[in-house]
C-alpha cells in the first residue's frame, strides 16, 4: 500500500517534469522556427519523445507534401514505408538517437501522395538539464537525384571496370594462348594471376594424365610463401589442375578478383589442353623424325630386325620362338655359339671360355626378366657395337614373341574352357526342358479328356509353354552348334530331302514383318530344287544371309534370292544367291569376311558380332557345299550358297 503511494507520487512528479520540459521546448522552438522556416531544401521538424510531429517547416511541406495542419499531432511513422514500419524501424531510430544522442539514416521515405524519395535523415535527441530526452529534431534531405547520380556513376564504373578486367584478361591470356608448351602456359598463368591480385607467390600445379596427383609446373614470386587460395583449372568439368596464390597474410578476394581469376582459370585450362595436344604432336613428330633418321642411318640393322620380327611374330609355340631367337641372334651377330636360358642373367666373376662373349637380358613388357640370351665366339673382339645393338633388338623382340606365345596359349585354353562349359551347360538345360515340355503336354491331355471349366485358357497356356520350350531348345541347339564348331568338332547333321525354295520362302516370310523398308523377293526355277540337307542348320545359314542382307542395307531396297540348279563339273549343284543393295564390303575386308569376329571396316555403326557368316560357311561346308561372296562397297553384296544335289 505504502509503496504504491510512493510510486504514484513518483509518477506524478515525472509527469510534472515532462510537462515543464515540453513547455520549455515550445519556447525554444519559437526561437528555432524563425531560423528554420527560411530553409527550403531541408525538412526540419520536431518530434515529441514518442515520435509525434510537433512542428513543420516549409522545407518539410515541400518535401513531404503535408501542410502543417495535416501532420502536426500525427506520428512521424507515416513518413516511412510500410515494410520499415512493420519492421519497427521508426522507433528503432528514435531509440538509437535516445541512447547515442544522434542517428543518421539513409533510405526510402514516403510522401503524402504515397510516392517515395531517397532520404538522408538525421535525428538528434533533445535533452533537458537532467539528460532526459524530451523530444527530437529531425532533418530530412531528399537525395533521390544524388542517389541516382551515384548509381549511374557506380554502373559506369562497373562497366569500365568490367571492360578493364576483360582487357587485362585478354592481355594476360593472349600470351598464355600463344604459348605452345604446357610449362610455359603454366608459368604465364601463374605470373598473370599473381600480378592481378598482388599475391606474393603463385604456382600452377597440374594433374598429369596418367597420374591423378598434382605436380607443380609453373612457379613465380616468393616460393617460400605457400599458396593459400586455389583457383581451379577446369575444362568441361575435367580438372586439369589449380593455380595456387600465396599472400603471406590473410587475404580475402573481392568478387571482382575472384571473377577475373576464375575466367583466367578457364582460359588457362583451354590453353593448357591445347598446349598438351600440341606437345604430344611435337613429340610424335620428333619421334617419327628420329625413327626415320635411324632408319636412314641403319637401314640394314632395321631390316634385319624386321625380318627377325616377322619370323618371330608368326611363331606361337614358345619352344619354336626360343629356337628362332637363337638362330636369328647367331646369324645377325656372327656368333659361333648362341643359347637362351630361362634364368635371368647372373654376372659372375669371369665368364665362359670364349674370346668374345655377349649376354643380353630378355625382359617382358611387364618388366619381368624372362631369360637371357648368351652369344659367344672363340675369337676376341668379334661383337661390334652394331652386333650388340642387333642382339639387344632381338632380345626385345624375343620378349614380345614369348609374351605373345604365352598369351596365345592362355587364350586358346580360355576359349576351350569356355566352349566346353557352354556345351555342358547347354546339355544340362535339356533335361529340365524335357520335363517342362512333356509335363505341359500331359496336363493338356488331361484337360482335353476331362473337360475342366475354363479349359480354353488352360490349354492355351500349356501350348504357349510347349512352344516356348521349342524356341528355347532351338536357341540351345544353336549355342551347342556354335560351341562345337568353335572346338573344331563336326556337327551331327540330320539329313532330309528338303525343297530349298520352300525353305527360303519360310525364311523370307519370317523376316518380312521386321523389314518394312525392304522388298524381299524370291526368284526360282520352275522345277523344285530338292537337296539332302539338315533342314534346321541350312535354314539357320540361309536365315543368317537374309538377316545380313537386310541389316547391311539400312536404307532399304531390294533383297533378292535366286534359287536354281546347274551342272558343275558333271555334278548337279543347287545355288542360292542372296543379293542386297546395301553398304557392301570394302575390297580390303573381302578376304576376311568369313573369319570369326571380323567385320567390315564400314559397318561399325551396325550392331553385330562378326560370327554369323563364319558359322554359315562351316555349316554349308559340312554339307559338302560352299559359301562365297561378291561385293562392291556402296553398291551391295551377293552371297552364294552352293550345295551338291544327288
Amino acid at each position: 500500500m505504502q509503496q504504491s503511494a510512493v510510486h504514484g507520487q513518483g509518477r506524478q512528479t515525472r509527469r510534472q517534469q515532462a510537462t515543464d520540459a515540453e513547455e520549455r521546448l515550445r519556447q525554444s522552438e519559437e526561437r528555432f522556427r524563425t531560423l528554420v522556416d527560411s530553409v527550403k531544401d531541408y525538412a526540419i521538424f520536431m518530434l515529441s519523445a514518442d515520435g509525434i510531429v510537433l512542428t513543420w517547416n516549409q522545407g518539410a511541406q515541400q518535401l513531404k507534401g503535408y501542410a502543417p495542419e495535416d501532420i502536426i499531432g500525427q506520428s512521424f511513422e507515416r513518413f516511412y514505408t510500410e515494410q520499415a514500419r512493420a519492421a519497427g524501424r521508426p522507433h528503432q531510430l528514435l531509440d538509437i538517437a535516445r541512447t547515442e544522442g544522434r542517428v543518421e539514416d539513409e533510405g526510402w521515405r514516403a510522401r503524402k501522395d504515397g510516392s517515395l524519395f531517397w532520404a538522408d535523415v538525421v535525428i538528434t535527441a533533445l535533452r533537458d538539464e537532467h539528460g532526459q530526452t524530451v523530444g527530437f529534431a529531425k532533418v530530412t534531405r531528399d537525395l533521390t537525384d544524388r542517389r541516382q547520380a551515384e548509381q549511374d556513376r557506380a554502373a559506369r564504373m562497373a562497366a569500365e571496370h568490367a571492360a578493364q578486367t576483360f582487357e587485362r584478361l585478354q592481355v594476360a591470356t593472349a600470351a598464355v594462348a600463344a604459348a605452345s608448351d604446357p610449362k610455359t602456359v603454366a608459368e604465364l598463368l601463374a605470373d598473370a594471376a599473381m600480378r592481378q591480385v598482388g599475391a606474393a607467390s603463385a604456382a600452377v600445379a597440374l594433374r598429369t594424365p596418367d597420374a591423378p596427383s598434382l605436380e607443380t609446373v609453373g612457379m613465380c614470386g616468393d616460393s617460400s610463401i605457400a599458396p593459400e587460395i586455389e583457383i581451379p583449372l577446369a575444362l568441361d568439368q575435367r580438372s586439369l589442375g589449380v593455380i595456387g596464390l600465396g599472400f603471406g597474410h590473410a587475404r580475402v578476394l573481392d568478387p571482382d578478383e575472384r571473377g577475373f581469376l576464375l575466367a583466367l582459370g578457364e582460359v588457362g585450362a583451354q590453353a593448357l589442353d591445347r598446349a598438351r595436344v600440341y606437345a604430344a604432336e611435337q613429340l610424335a613428330r620428333t619421334e617419327a623424325q628420329a625413327a626415320a633418321r635411324l632408319a636412314r642411318d641403319e637401314t640394314a640393322v632395321v631390316e634385319t630386325l624386321h625380318r627377325v620380327n616377322l619370323a618371330l611374330s608368326a611363331e606361337l609355340d614358345p619352344d619354336k620362338v626360343v629356337q628362332a631367337v637363337i638362330d636369328a641372334a647367331r646369324s645377325v651377330t656372327g656368333a659361333e655359339f648362341a643359347s637362351f636360358s630361362a634364368e635371368p642373367a647372373i654376372v659372375e666373376d669371369g665368364h665362359p671360355a670364349f674370346g668374345s662373349y655377349l649376354m643380353v637380358p630378355v625382359h617382358s613388357k611387364s618388366g619381368n626378366a624372362v631369360g637371357t640370351l648368351h652369344l659367344g665366339h672363340r675369337e676376341p673382339n668379334v661383337f661390334t657395337e652394331r652386333a650388340e645393338r642387333l642382339a639387344g633388338g632381338i632380345a626385345a623382340q624375343a620378349a614380345v614373341a614369348l609374351d605373345n606365345a604365352r598369351l596365345y596359349r592362355e587364350v586358346q585354353e580360355a576359349v576351350r574352357t569356355r566352349d566346353e562349359f557352354l556345351a555342358a551347360a547347354a546339355h544340362d538345360l535339356k533335361t529340365p526342358l524335357a520335363t517342362t515340355k512333356a509335363m505341359a503336354q500331359l496336363l493338356k491331355n488331361r484337360i482335353d479328356r476331362q473337360h475342366v471349366p475354363g479349359m480354353e485358357r488352360l490349354t492355351e497356356g500349356l501350348l504357349r509353354i510347349d512352344r516356348s520350350v521349342e524356341r528355347m531348345t532351338a536357341l540351345i541347339d544353336e549355342l551347342l552348334d556354335l560351341a562345337r564348331m568353335q572346338m573344331g568338332r563336326p556337327l551331327d547333321l540330320d539329313l532330309h530331302e528338303v525343297d530349298l525354295s520352300g525353305l527360303m520362302r519360310d525364311v523370307l516370310d519370317d523376316h518380312r514383318p521386321n523389314a518394312p523398308r525392304h522388298a524381299l523377293r524370291l526368284v526360282r526355277s520352275d522345277t523344285p530344287v530338292v537337296a539332302k540337307v539338315d533342314p534346321v542348320r541350312i535354314r539357320r545359314s540361309l536365315d543368317n544371309l537374309v538377316a545380313n542382307a537386310i541389316k547391311y542395307s539400312p536404307a532399304g531396297g531390294e533383297v533378292v534370292v535366286h534359287i536354281d540348279s546347274s551342272l558343275c563339273d558333271g555334278v548337279r549343284v543347287a545355288s542360292v544367291r542372296v543379293s542386297d543393295q546395301g553398304v557392301g564390303i570394302p575390297a580390303a575386308d573381302l578376304p576376311y569376311v568369313f573369319e570369326r569376329f571380323r567385320r567390315g571396316g564400314n559397318v561399325a555403326f551396325i550392331h553385330g558380332t562378326g560370327i554369323g557368316l563364319g558359322i554359315a560357311q562351316s555349316i554349308v561346308r559340312q554339307h559338302g557345299g560352299s559359301l562365297s561372296v561378291e561385293s562392291l562397297e556402296g553398291k551391295g553384296s551377293t552371297f552364294t550358297v552352293r550345295l551338291p544335289l544327288d
Binding site: 546339355h427 524335357a434 520335363t435 515340355k437 512333356a438 509335363m439 503336354q441 500331359l442
Partner: protein, 124 residues
Amino acid sequence: MADEPHVLVVEDDASLRETLIWALEDDGLQVAAAVDGVDAVQKASAQLPRLVVLDMSLPGLDGFGVAAALRSQFGSGLPILVITADGQPRHKAERVGAYAYLHKPFDVSDLVQRVREGLSRTAV
C-alpha cells in the same frame, strides 16, 4: 492288369522320371522306374521288363554300361528306347542296339508311339 506290358524307365532326373512314368501310365502301361544305372540293372534282374526307356547320361554306370549289362543278361531281344540330350543320338542308339531314340525335349505323343512300337516288336 497283370498281363499289361511292363516298361522300365531309367532316368536320374527325378522330375523327368516322374513325368515319363506319368506319360506311360496315362497310356495304360505298367511302369517301373530306376534312378541310376546300378538301380536299373537291379530292377531289371528282379523283374524282367518287356521294354527299357534309357537315359544315356547317368551318374556312375551310364547308359552304355546299363545297355551292355542288360544285353549280357537278356540278349539282344530286349528293346531299348534311348533318350538323350546329346548331338549324336543316332550314333548312341546304334552303339547300344536301341531300336529308336528320342531327343530331349520330346513330345509325349512321340514317346508313347515309340514305346508302343517297341512293345509290338517283342509281341511279334
